[in-house]
């Protein structure tokens, strides 16, 4: 499965997503469709899945376990899973490619990968989109391109996004520069998670915004530029921060590790801060007494993020205890 693999630059780029929205001409968008029309789209999607050697599931029929898995792997989002009626999912064997059916648009074709290897998914998503376009009469205008329910996406209907963790850019004070750079490429950045009254802690989502005035190729090139810039700047900052403040960084690194390993309750913000330090210094500090690799750091980060997306009342002692337990288990080397 794609999510079990360590991806390119996975110490900075946690995951990448490419998505394309498409709609069938002659049918209203899902919010205005009746049950019968939704059923037609679902059945068509099922047929499409068969022809393309993909699986098809109705979201209503998912077990709780499957729901959590799909959420964890960013294949479906919480809104889709909480309102599963009339919605479906077409999914490839390794789950790297999927099509969400009847959520917002008739089809959202998406590709996910760990790290920043979008080359592997971008073209796969585009090809899958082409197959969808060949099978259905797709809503398209010469002037505006592919029509979507959200006019923000009209045009190519194509979005690239990365979840990034950039503790050194943050601590080094170069965030304004990075934001400026993103702006010049028509990319945006938003904090990835927050817990209401604490800072979000070095996790961000960056995404492309232009769907008009750009070719697909241009969107791809800009995504690569964004990715390379972020990786380069974050790496530079990590080294600079470590070289200038060795003792402080090492102190924070070992403290963070100790805290995560032995804590009995864990606040979201302290977890993110600690993971930020581990991530920042991990490749530079060699110490055999710390049994830590990137897989574990990513797993902890991912666990915390997923949990954020479906747990309410994050400040409660119960949540904090559960969080601590999960993190300790990962550090102990839980099998899964």
């Amino acid at each position: 499965m794609w999510y079990d693999e360590i991806g390119e630059n996975n110490d900075i780029i946690l995951s990448s997503c490419v998505s394309v929205v498409r709609n069938i001409r002659g049918y209203k968008f899902p919010t205005k469709m009746d049950a019968e029309e939704k059923e037609f789209v679902l059945t068509s999607a099922e047929a499409f899945a068969k022809e393309n050697d993909m699986k098809f599931v109705r979201l209503e029929e998912l077990s709780d376990g499957q729901r959590v898995e799909f959420l964890r792997h960013k294949i479906a989002n919480i809104e889709e899973l909480q309102n599963p009626s009339g919605k479906g999912l077409v999914i490839s064997d390794d789950e790297s490619l999927s099509i969400v059916v009847n959520q917002g648009n008739h089809f959202r074709i998406q590709g996910n990968c760990n790290g920043g290897d979008i080359n592997s998914i971008f073209w796969a998503v585009e090809k899958l989109a082409v197959n969808v376009e060949k099978k259905f009469d797709i809503a398209f205008s010469e002037r505006l391109g592919f029509l979507s329910s959200n006019p923000f996406e009209v045009g190519t209907g194509l979005r690239v996004s990365f979840i990034i963790s950039v503790p050194a850019i943050e601590k080094g004070g170069v965030m304004p520069k990075v934001l400026q750079r993103l702006n010049s490429l028509d990319w945006k950045m938003v904090p990835y998670i927050g817990d209401g009254n604490k800072r979000t802690g070095n996790l961000y989502e960056v995404y492309s915004t232009s769907t008009l005035g750009v070719t697909e190729k241009k969107i791809y090139e800009r995504a690569i530029t964004v990715l390379e810039d972020i990786v380069k700047v974050e790496r530079m900052c990590r080294e600079a921060i470590y070289n200038k403040n060795k003792i402080i960084v090492e102190d924070q690194y070992f403290r963070s590790y100790g805290m995560l390993k032995y804590c009995q309750k864990l606040e979201l913000s302290e977890a993110l801060e600690a993971l930020g330090w581990l991530r920042l210094a991990h490749s530079m500090i060699k110490d055999n007494s710390v049994d830590l690799d990137l897989t574990k750091i990513n797993k902890m980060t991912d666990r915390i993020c997923t949990e954020m997306k479906h747990l309410k009342g994050n400040a409660s002692i119960k949540v904090e205890t559960a969080r601590a337990k999960q993190i300790r288990a990962i550090l102990e080397g839980e099998s899964n």
């Binding site: 709609n23 049918y27 398209f140 923000f152 965030m175 304004p176 904090p191 008009l212």
Partner: protein
């Protein structure tokens, strides 16, 4: 009042930061709520005004008036008010029904409003994209990448040049003048300046 990030109507709790208005959900999702609660805390402070630049303008530029609110899509029944509340269309006919408002909004939110993507069902540039794209990007590897910034500025200026000058905001005009001067396109700069001056006259 609509949230400038998600486009939904804001109830009684409004977050205002740097002249942007956000709903409680978006304010909390983007960290603005945290920042307002404690302006000296952590990273948000550092990002300051740049940070709001990171929040996508959604429907902040759509004017809302009662006559417009009555426009309805003949096919799906979506009214402009519905669109205003949800930020979404009900069917493709909505693109026709709300065309005027849409154009204004697209002008603001997209670098250029011409469709430049591929046609349905055709992977137009095929697999050659892959190799070409990777090489192009390798060539401009520098972090500061002046070439890429230049290009983005050129694009922006072209967008201003091609847009209906009367539709541009004062701030847009100011930026357009700066860009045009930077690119030594003084004729164009003068055109924008005249427009701006003309407005001040009124």
């Amino acid at each position: 009042m609509r949230c400038e990030r998600c486009g939904k109507q804001i109830g009684n709790k409004i977050f205002k930061y740097n002249n942007s208005y956000l709903c409680p959900e978006c304010a909390s999702a983007t960290g603005v709520a945290d920042m307002l609660a404690n302006p000296f805390a952590g990273v948000m402070n550092m990002m300051d005004s740049d940070f709001m630049g990171a929040i996508p303008p959604v429907f902040s530029n759509l004017e809302f008036s009662s006559t417009r609110a009555q426009i309805k899509c003949p096919k799906c029944g979506t009214s402009f008010r519905d669109f205003d509340n949800t930020g979404t269309f009900g069917c493709i006919e909505c693109y026709v029904a709300f065309n005027d408002q849409l154009q204004r909004y697209l002008m603001k939110s997209q670098p250029n409003t011409d469709y430049m993507g591929r046609k349905p069902g055709i992977l137009s540039e095929g697999n050659t994209w892959q190799d070409e794209a990777t090489e192009d990007v390798k060539a401009s590897e520098e972090v500061e990448a002046p070439a890429a910034i230049n290009e983005a500025e050129d694009e922006k200026l072209t967008k201003y040049e091609n847009s209906d000058i009367g539709m541009l905001s004062d701030d847009d005009l100011k930026e357009a003048i700066q860009l045009a001067v930077k690119k030594e396109n003084y004729m164009l700069a003068a055109r924008f300046r005249d427009e701006l001056k003309g407005r001040e006259g009124n």
